[in-house]
Amino acid sequence: MTESEVHDKIITLEEAAKLVPDGSGLFWGGFGYQRAPIAFAHELVRQKKRDLTIYTCGSEVDIEIMVGAHVAKRLEVAFVAIEALGLANNLRRRVASGDVEMEDYSNLAMAMRFLGGALNVPFMPIRSLMGTDMITKSRYRGDKKLKVIDDPFGGGKVCLVPSVQPDFSIVHVQRVDADGNAQIDGIVGEDIEGSRCGKKLIVLAEELVGSEEIRHSPDRTVIPAMYVDHIVVLPYAAHPMQCHNYYDYDLEHLMMFHKLTKTEEGWEEYLNGHILGVDDHYGYLNMVGWNRLHSLRARKPWGY
C-alpha cells in the first residue's frame, strides 16, 4: 500500500457506521464498564440502522441504547445489565414485547465462539452449559445453538459451541497508529478473539500515535494492522463507561441513564436529548460538558 492508501484506513465515525448495512451481524467489543464502543452505538442510532445482530460476552449501556432505539433485533450474548445499578430496563421491555430476541450463552461460551471464529474452525469444545436450560432451550438458532457430543477420544461428554464470524467487529482501544496497529491497556476481555473473528474490523481509538511508538513496544500490540480495515479516532468514545489510563466512568451520568430507562418515556427523553438531539459525537461531548469530561481523566499510577 502507498502512504495515501494507508491513511485511507482512517475514516470518520459517520463513514464507519455507514458501512454497516441493515441486518448485519456485529461482534461488539469492550467488557463490563471497560472500553465500551458507546460512540459507535450512538451513530448507529442516528443513522437509523435496523435488524442488527450483536455478538458479545457482556455489554451494558451500549446494548441498552441499541435495543432501546430498535437498532439491534437479535442478541447472542451472556450478560446484559448495568452492573451495580440494576437490570437493563430497555432490554427488559424489548424482550417482553418480543421486539428483541436473545440466544443465551455463558461468557466462556461466547468467548470460545469468538476464538473459534478467529481460528476459522467451525466450533470449540467447552465444559460449561451442560445439564441446564442453556442446552435444552433455543430462541432461534435451534439445533445450531450447540451440540453435546461424546468425546471421540473417550473423555465423556463435551459441549461444542459454533464459531462466530460476523460481518463486522467493532472494538475500542486506547491507541492506534495510522496503519491500524492497536494497543490496549489493562484487561482485554474477549477483544483479542473478537477483533479477529469478524469479516471486517473497525477500530475506535482514543488516540492516534506515530508508528515508531507502536514499533518501539511491539509485544504490546494486541491488534496488528493486518486485521484492521477501518480506524476511527475519537476522544471519550466510551463515555459514560471507562477507558483504562484515559478516563474513568461517569457514575452520575450512568445513574441518570439507568433511572431514565425505567420508563419508555424516560428513555425517549435520553434518546432524543443525548443521541438524536446532537449532530455527532462532539455534540454529545459538548452536551455532557468538557468540565465534566476533564474531571474524569485518569490519574497515574491508578489508570482511572
Binding site: Y33, F79, A109, I187, H244
Partner: protein, 256 residues
C-alpha cells in the same frame, strides 16, 4: 455489643467461607466486599480474580464492574476472559466462586435469565454472564441472595446455572468438573446441602430470625437439622475494615 447493618452482616458472614490461599472469583458487590474482607482478616493470601482478566487483585477502591480499572492497580496480571474462564476456571483452578440468583431450587440450581415462561418471558434478567461457567467448574460455590419467598422455588422458570442438578450423580453424568453449591447465604439464614441427597438444608439462622421465619419463606421442602445454631455476628474489627475498604459507602450504603 457490635452494631451492624444487614449488608455488613452478610458481607462478614460470606467472608468466613473464604479460606486462606484460595483462588476466589470476586465479581462485584457484596461478594467482592466479602472477599476483600477475608483478605484483610483470616485469608491474607486469597488470590482475588475478576473474570474480566484481573488476577491477584488488591483494589484500593471498591470496583463497580468486574472490568473496572479499580481492579487493575496492584494486581499481578491483567489478561482476558479466555484466561480467567478457560485456563483458570475450566481447568479446575478456582476454589470458590460467588453467585447471586433471582431463583434457586432445592438442589441449588440457579435462574438468572428469565422470570415467566421461556417462550413469553415476563422479566428478562441479566443472563448467565460467567455464572454458568463458575457454577459448572468452581470447586465450591457460595450463593448470596436476598430472602424472598418467591425466589426459593420448587421449579425454576429457567435453569441458567447448575447446582446439584437432580441430585447425586447428575453433575458427574454431565462431566461438570466443579463441586457445586456449598452454602447459600440470605439475609435470614445460611443453608448448606445434605451430603447424601444434595438437597438444601438449614445451616444457621441469623440473629433476630427463627427457623419458622425461614420455613415460611421458602417454597420447597427445606431440611431442618435438630440443631440449628445462630449465625455469628460480625466483629468490630470486620466492620471497621469494611468501612475502610468502602469509605464512600458504594456497597455499604451512605447512611449505615
Amino acid at each position: 455489643m457490635v452494631e451492624y447493618s444487614k449488608i455488613e452482616f452478610l458481607a462478614a458472614c460470606a467472608s468466613r467461607h473464604v479460606r486462606d490461599g484460595e483462588n476466589v472469583f470476586g465479581g462485584t458487590g457484596l461478594p467482592l466486599l466479602a472477599a476483600l474482607l477475608a483478605k484483610e482478616t483470616h485469608a491474607p493470601n486469597a488470590n482475588l480474580i475478576s473474570e474480566a482478566g484481573f488476577i491477584d487483585a488488591r483494589p484500593k477502591n471498591v470496583p463497580l464492574s468486574v472490568a473496572d480499572s479499580r481492579y487493575y492497580f496492584g494486581c499481578s496480571a491483567a489478561i482476558g476472559l479466555i484466561e480467567t474462564l478457560g485456563f483458570i476456571l475450566q481447568a479446575g483452578r478456582i476454589d470458590v466462586g460467588f453467585l447471586g440468583a433471582a431463583q434457586i431450587d432445592e438442589y441449588g440450581n440457579l435462574n438468572t435469565s428469565y422470570i415467566g415462561s421461556f417462550e413469553q418471558p415476563k422479566v428478562r434478567l441479566p443472563g448467565s454472564g460467567g455464572g454458568n461457567d463458575i457454577a459448572s467448574s468452581a470447586k465450591r460455590l457460595i450463593i448470596m441472595m436476598t430472602h424472598d419467598k418467591r425466589k426459593f422455588v420448587k421449579k425454576l422458570d429457567y435453569m441458567t446455572s447448575p447446582g446439584h442438578l437432580e441430585g447425586p450423580g447428575s453433575r458427574e453424568k454431565w462431566g461438570l468438573i466443579g463441586g457445586g453449591p456449598e452454602v447459600v447465604i440470605t439475609d435470614m439464614c445460611q443453608m448448606d446441602f445434605d451430603p447424601k441427597t444434595l438437597k438444601i438444608r438449614l445451616m444457621s439462622v441469623h440473629p433476630g430470625y427463627t427457623v419458622d421465619d425461614v420455613l415460611e419463606n421458602v417454597m420447597f421442602d427445606l431440611i431442618v437439622p435438630d440443631d440449628v445454631p445462630v449465625t455469628p455476628e460480625p466483629t468490630q474489627e470486620q466492620i471497621e475494615i469494611m468501612h475502610r475498604l468502602d469509605p464512600h459507602g458504594v456497597y455499604l450504603g451512605k447512611g449505615e
